[in-house]
Amino acid sequence: MREQLEKIEALAKQELSQCAGIKALDELRIKFLGKKGELTAILKQMGKLSPEERPVIGQLANKVRTDIEEALSTKLSSLKAEAQEAQLREETIDITLPGKTAPMGKLHPMTQVENEIREIFMGMGFEIAEGPEVDDDYHVFEALNLPPDHPARDTQDTFYIEGTDETVLLRTQTSSVQVHVMETQKPPIRIISPGRVFRSDAVDATHSPLFHQIEGLVIDKGIKMSDLKGTLEMLMKKLYGNDCKLRFRPHHFPFTEPSCEVDISCFNCGGCGCSMCKDEGYIELLGAGMVHPKVLENCGIDSSVYSGFAFGMGLERMVMGRYNINDLRLLYENDVRFLEQF
């Protein structure tokens, strides 16, 4: 019997080694270990053995069973591994084929830059105010210290609305929103106001009869001109990086005093002078100043108690500087091949 058992084990191992598939392996398991298998058949003859032989053969039989089981299990794992490997090999794909995309559009580059500016200002506690684009003379000019006959009002720049005796017009500046806000809100005021403005400029690479401004206004007790500088420097460093430099030049706007124009170090040469900045090193960026006391008084704010600053910048110019766009018309043509670049 011992010989029989050893023969079975040897046979099982031999057949196992030749076994090539999981199904064949299962057949082997049944052949050797199944209820009608060879090992079982031998064990059924255990009864014929002497009491002395029985435990010895029993032990041996168990060992043979365990050995075969182990061999089966080892073989199974290796077969599974082989099969998985084969499957993975077979499933290999060309990973350089293009991806399957869901359609995705883009925000207009002007919206993207405007959003960035909005976020920076919201972080500084500014709210976003809006006002009408078709507005009256009072809010666009008169309240802003541009009385009738003021030389800074020039008919050719303003679009007037028919049938209103030039009292209704398309706002030429978002500064009109300042007036709307000051009329309805008590200081402290901290707003920015992005929006469309209109001026009678023929279309070319740098002009458009419609463009966007972002106006800012801060009114509180003790607001200083140095606060204006600090705020604008913070904005520009966040937008254009810490290396950019600002330059403040005296200028004139009827609604601010002192007034300034602010230049930024050239995007192209960083301030050394190049063809883009006409060798100046700086590019004109925005207008700003301390809110004129008359403007405060026109809006019912006591200029002996409150002071403030205001600034206004052209969005198109910032977008063009940001992305190196050389023709403003592209922003309003809306060619998808342009829009998808941003």
Binding site: F121, Y160, I161, P254, M290
Partner: protein, 819 residues
């Protein structure tokens, strides 16, 4: 304003490189646009002397000259000019020289004879006869200047001044003058300003012997100074004066006209010189025009005047429009013998209004309307006389006429150095402030700062702060963070629009930006009926052109334009959207009943105005063509956007039956819908009408939607409440129905919803089929109906009974279970 640096040097001793000078002036508020050195385009052109002139051997019209140019040997030059003679002093462009406009001169052979350069005419040097009146128009410039042979032409004829072009802001008319800029220069550099009071000798007599002056409107003309020059000699001005005028961008004319221009450039005060002969009755009346009165102005245009205009008149007629332009026949002529000089002060808004009404601008009017120094009139008259005597142009009659009604009270405001430092955020010592102010012509005393009369812009202490700041240097002011806590958040509307925009992008839309004004032609292009409300627009009085002349009443044409542009640029497909306004006129006059009807800060009523402003509602406009664009793609996009902004339960009804959106005529009647919720019209969408497609040159089917944002906001659900996850399983039943083709599926769904009731969880349409098997004029529609109860697992009986009810309701609208 073009400033001659040579002229500037008369008043301030400035010696810095011109580039640095321009920077310093720019940074203190007098912005320099550019500067140009005259004659910088010219090189290697020298003064030469003609030694001999002989005929050219091969030509009738050419001559060969030997010209002495300062070297050892004379040079040979061939010229076609006929006005050269031996001994003439001429400009010679040598071999390798350059002339204005990039012209280069090289030696070469002219009909076989070597020519080593060119003799130049005035024109070839970039000049004309007004610069050198003695020269001939066409022909070589035969020079009468005091110069040396071989000398550079620039220095020989004074073509070496540097002209700096300033862009002066409208509040600083005083800087539109040499003295004004000299004062700024002196203040910035801390240098003395050398301006002397003008002096003249004059001959015995008084202007009042020749002329009488009366001002009838002393509000509008506060000062009129007049003087007489007799026995005048009209001739060209001397070279130095012509050079300075030229560098200032003014063409020399004759000595008297040049003197008026010279004084105007120097002091900023417009001057007028006219012939006494033409002053009828020898009586000047500064008065309002009589209605209908006419004058032919110097520009040769006859103008009709109105009563509110001010004129300078003699006893019979106006001879000038005050402060703007003289009459055509009053000017200085070659035979003029007695000249009247006028130096006056006119009220700025008067000049501006008249100039605007007559559409007539002049150098004088642009200065008067900004405001000239009201106390400088007499000084300027004296300066003109000083120049007349210097030029030997005539005899100045000593006594002048001075009608003076000016208010001499200077403007003064509080001087508070602590306030200025607080306002600027600086720490400037009070003495420094005083120093800056005094350099600019202000006087500080007794806590007051007094502005000089030429500073018409000074009104309040902020103006003084600006003066201090700009001399101190804006860039020396520190940068600080201001204090205080402020709340900052988007308004609900702003948040809503942000969500809308982002969802349109995530669904494949590219955002566009289009003009708010459009062409009125769009009415017809989108097939609006003649009486459509949308044809009533906010119109621009002075548009750039018809294409931008009306404010749009619909955003759809703008979208169609963009689609057309893309289609015609061969972009195969596009999904586009824009969030922008429409401008809808409001009928009633007056109004604005908004929250801001009163000033919260003052309690006073707001400024009143007569005309109602238009409504400016925001719209989301979507356009698509190409790719998989069709009605249902567009509708799917809208459904997803509406879900994102939480507007649920909308209905789609045929646009052709809608009375609200007149844009429906732009759409295919069978393929367009109006989106409704609770009776509110939210928008319109669909396929563009083939005719409209053609009108816009879009060669493929185009789909457009417009959603009204205010209405969407009003119907959006703001609150989100959590619903517990279901505890019990859902039961599903599929129904395959046959129904008349013209019954919309929305009706079937409505019937199912009503019948199944509360336990209905979801209806999913999974098939629509038309074909022989279901019969002509029929369609088969297949639904999967999911039902669920929150109280327990539904029994088959409950589900079947619900379905039975649904089938009953469906059969009432003609839908039967498919056999």
């Amino acid at each position: 304003m073009n400033l001659s640096m040579k002229w500037l040097a008369d008043y301030v001793d400035i010696d810095v490189p011109v580039k640095d000078y321009c920077h310093a002036l720019t940074m203190s508020g007098s912005k320099v646009e550019c500067y140009e050195t005259e004659g910088s385009e010219i090189s290697n052109v020298v003064v030469g002397k003609i030694l001999s002139v002989v005929p050219h051997e091969n030509s009738d019209h050419l001559v060969v000259c030997q010209v002495e140019v300062g070297g050892d040997e004379p040079v040979q030059i061939v010229t076609g000019a006929s006005n050269v003679n031996v001994g003439d002093i001429v400009p010679v462009a040598l071999n390798g020289s350059t002339l204005p406009n990039g012209i280069k001169i090289k030696k070469g052979k002219l009909r076989g004879v070597l020519s080593n350069g060119m003799l130049c005419s005035l024109g070839e040097l970039g000049l004309d006869k007004r610069d050198f009146p003695y020269a001939v128009e066409d022909g070589i410039f035969i020079m009468q200047e005091d110069c040396e042979i071989g000398q550079d032409i620039q220095s020989a004829i004074g073509l070496n001044d540097t002209s700096v072009e300033f862009e002066i802001t409208s509040n600083r008319p005083d800087c539109l003058s040499v003295i004004g800029l000299a004062r700024e220069t002196a203040a910035i550099y801390g240098l003395p300003l050398n301006v002397k009071a003008p002096e003249y000798k004059g001959v015995e007599g008084s202007a009042s012997d020749y002329l009488k002056v009366d001002i009838h409107n002393t509000d509008k003309c506060q000062r009129y100074c007049a003087g007489i020059v007799k026995n005048v000699k009209i001739e060209p001005s001397p070279r130095w004066m012509r050079e300075r005028l030229r560098a200032s961008g003014v063409r020399p004319i004759n000595n008297f006209v040049d003197i008026t221009n010279y004084v105007m450039l120097e002091y900023g005060q417009p001057m007028h010189a006219f012939d006494l002969r033409y002053v009828e009755g020898s009586h000047i009346n500064v008065r309002n025009a009589v209605s209908g009165e006419r004058i032919m102005t110097l520009d040769g245009v006859e103008r009709e005047l109105t009563e509110d205009m001010l004129v300078i008149a003699d006893e019979k007629k106006p001879v000038a429009v005050a402060g703007i332009m003289g009459g055509e026949y009053s000017g200085i002529m070659d035979d003029t013998t007695t000249v009247v000089f006028e130096s006056a002060y006119f009220e700025p808004s008067q000049v501006r209004r008249t100039s605007k009404a007559l559409r007539l601008k002049s150098d004088a009017s642009s200065r008067y309307e900004k405001g000239v120094d009201r106390l400088v009139s007499m000084t300027c008259l004296k300066r003109a006389f000083e120049l007349v005597e210097l030029l030997g142009a005539g005899e100045v009659v000593r006594e002048v006429i001075d009608c003076d009604y000016t208010d001499k009270t200077p403007v003064s405001v509080d001087f508070d150095s602590a306030w200025i430092n607080d306002f600027l955020g600086t720490d400037i010592p009070e003495d420094d402030m005083k120093e800056y102010l005094s350099r600019l012509g202000f006087t500080v005393a007794d806590g007051k700062v007094t502005a000089p009369s030429f500073r018409v812009d000074i009104e309040c202490r902020a103006d003084i702060a600006e003066e201090v700041a700009r001399i101190y240097g804006y860039n020396n002011i520190p940068s600080t963070d201001f204090r205080g806590v402020a709340r900052a958040e988007f308004t609900p509307e702003q948040k809503f629009i942000r969500t809308l925009r982002n969802s349109a992008v995530s669904l494949g839309g590219f955002e566009t930006a289009t003009y708010s004004f459009v062409s009125p032609k769009y009415f017809d292009k989108i097939r609006l009926p003649e009486d459509s409300r949308l044809r009533k627009t906010v119109k621009i009085v002075n548009p750039l052109g018809e294409d931008t002349s009306v404010m749009r009443t619909s955003t759809i044409p703008s979208m169609l334009d963009v689609m057309s542009f893309n289609y015609n640029n061969r972009n195969e497909k596009a999904v586009l959207f824009e969030i922008a306004k429409e401008y809808l006129p409001v009928d009633e006059k007056r109004g604005y009943q908004g929250d801001d009807a009163f000033l919260v800060n003052s309690g006073k009523p707001r400024h009143e105005y007569e005309y109602q402003l238009p409504d400016e509602p925001d719209r989301l406009t979507i356009g698509m063509y190409g790719g998989n664009a069709d009605f249902y793609t567009l509708k799917g996009m809208i459904e997803q956007i509406l879900a994102e902004v939480r507007v649920s339960g909308v209905e789609y009804v045929r646009a052709s039956e809608c009375e609200v959106f007149d844009e429906k005529y732009a759409f295919h009647p069978g393929r367009s819908a109006v989106i409704l919720k609770d009776g509110v019209h939210l928008g319109i969408m669909g396929e563009i009408h083939p005719e409209v497609q053609e009108n816009y040159g879009i060669g493929t089917k185009a789909y457009v939607a417009k959603l009204n944002i205010p209405e969407l906001i009003s119907l959006a659900e703001n609150e989100i409440t959590y619903r517990p996850l279901p505890k019990f399983p859902a039961t599903t039943r599929d129904l395959s129905l046959v129904v008349d083709d013209n019954v919309p599926v929305a009706e079937l769904e409505k019937a199912i919803k009503g019948a199944v009731g509360k336990i209905l969880e979801k209806i999913t349409l999974f098939d629509v089929y038309r074909g022989k098997q279901v019969g002509e004029g029929k369609k088969s529609v297949a639904y999967s109906i999911s039902m669920r109860s929150h109280d327990g697992t539904l029994t088959d009986e409950q589900a079947d009974s619900a379905v039975k009810k649904a089938l009953k309701a469906l059969s009432e609208i003609g839908a039967e279970l498919r056999g």
